[in-house]
């Protein structure tokens, strides 16, 4: 066999074997990886909607999904909103929990972020940031308090504390929540947030 045909033969064989092997590995792990992704979203829904035991998609578009959280008897326990936007370094992805009447924020949790460790990354911290979002009024746009208030009680119903040294990251989260709020209100006006909507169709 000439050298060039041997080169072609060897490379083809190596490529084929590797391709076949990887296809098998991909097939074996695909289900589990999809399950991991789904579990992560599911966990976040249950965390932001108290009393929920399952979540169901009721509206979906790019970087914006609304879930209805249902309790054990299938009753609506609240809504969870998956939203993403630009942070200081990279995309911030969060899950926002709302009550049944869409008037109040239950809680907020950050799913993905690559903000500066020690500063912007505090947006994932319960005590220094996320706690201020709990129970806030969803009726009008939220705003940031800067410099931060000393206690939760001195903040108004639509105010949250800024993280000292991480104004941009705090604003990024605020921006994502407020734009999600507008979309939610519009969707609700159009009657697209009916948790039974999908079944009726």
């Amino acid at each position: 066999m000439s050298l060039s045909s041997r080169m072609v033969a060897v490379l083809t064989l190596v490529g084929f074997l590797s391709g076949g092997f990887l296809a098998t590995v991909g097939h074996l792990t695909r289900e589990r990886i999809a399950l991991n992704k789904k579990m992560e979203v599911e966990r976040a829904i249950l965390a932001v909607v108290p009393g929920a035991s399952a979540g169901r998609i009721i509206h979906e578009e790019k970087d914006f999904t609304v879930y209805a959280g249902q309790d054990k008897d299938g009753q609506l326990a609240g809504f969870a909103v998956y939203a993403a936007g630009t942070g200081f370094q990279d995309k911030i992805v969060l899950m926002l929990g709302l009550d049944v009447s869409l008037s109040r924020i239950n809680s907020l949790t950050i799913l993905e972020q690559k903000e500066t460790p020690g500063l912007g990354a505090k947006i994932t911290d319960e005590t220094s940031f996320l706690v201020y979002w709990e129970g806030k009024d969803f009726g009008k746009p939220l705003s940031l308090r800067k410099p931060p208030a000393a206690s939760r009680e001195s903040l108004s119903a639509s105010e949250v504390n800024t993280i000292t040294g991480a104004t941009i990251s705090s604003q990024a989260v605020l921006q994502i929540v407020n734009s999600a709020r507008e979309r939610i209100i519009n969707l609700n006006k159009e009657g697209k947030l009916n948790p039974e909507g999908k079944d009726a169709k």
Partner: protein, 202 residues
């Protein structure tokens, strides 16, 4: 090639030819993912898996591969093992997979692996190649563990996620940032060179 014992093949990776401190290969993952011990360890193990299996396979098939296409073949072999490691982490260690992000696929271009394939596995027996790869892996993991321990302890007052320094300790944020990686690595390298000089001087 001078004949060497298996022990020499293994231990040279730990110190004399340590991939990080001596050969200065694989700097990118070393600097990027050593902000916590668990990330450093996961990176070290994933790289070791790829290194050992690639060295084994490349050493096994070296006779069949024409010299002209050897690099291409090695890269395909390495990339296959990297993809397996990446899928495995995503399937069974989801959190670690997310923390390491793009650095697992980037193991493909880690110079340690192609370097050992080219410099050792393509010229030596299967057994020696595997021992060499194990030694290099151990040296790489050791270096990552030292770096990530220093960075996690000073940068967040924690070790393996557990708080070991009290609340009096104000974390040095710079240590978990890229600058802290360069500083720590530079200091470690200076120390290792100094130790080596002393050893030779005697």
């Amino acid at each position: 090639m001078p004949s060497k014992t298996a022990a020499e093949d293994f231990f040279k990776g730990l110190w004399l030819e340590n991939p990080i401190f001596r050969q200065m290969l694989g700097m990118c993952p070393t600097l990027a993912v050593t902000n916590t011990v668990i990330n450093g360890l996961a990176m070290g193990l994933a790289t070791s898996f790829v290194l050992v299996f690639s060295s084994f396979l490349i050493s096994l098939i070296k006779k069949f591969i024409p010299n002209q296409v050897r690099i291409a073949s090695y890269i395909v072999v390495i990339a296959s093992f990297v993809t397996i490691a990446d899928r495995f982490l995503a399937a069974y260690f989801w959190d670690i997979s997310k923390a390491l992000g793009p650095f697992v696929p980037l193991i493909v271009v880690n110079c340690i692996i192609l370097g050992r394939a080219e410099a050792f596995a393509s010229k030596n027996t299967v057994g020696r190649s595997v021992i060499d790869a194990l030694g290099m892996s151990a040296g790489f993991i050791l270096a990552l563990l030292v770096l990530s321990s220093i960075r996690e302890i000073l940068g967040s007052g924690r070790f393996l996620g557990y708080r070991i320094l009290g609340t009096w300790f104000e974390p040095w944020i710079i240590m978990v940032l890229p600058a802290g990686a360069f500083i720590t690595l530079g200091v470690m390298m200076a120390i290792s060179i100094q130790v080596e000089r002393k050893r030779k001087g005697r």
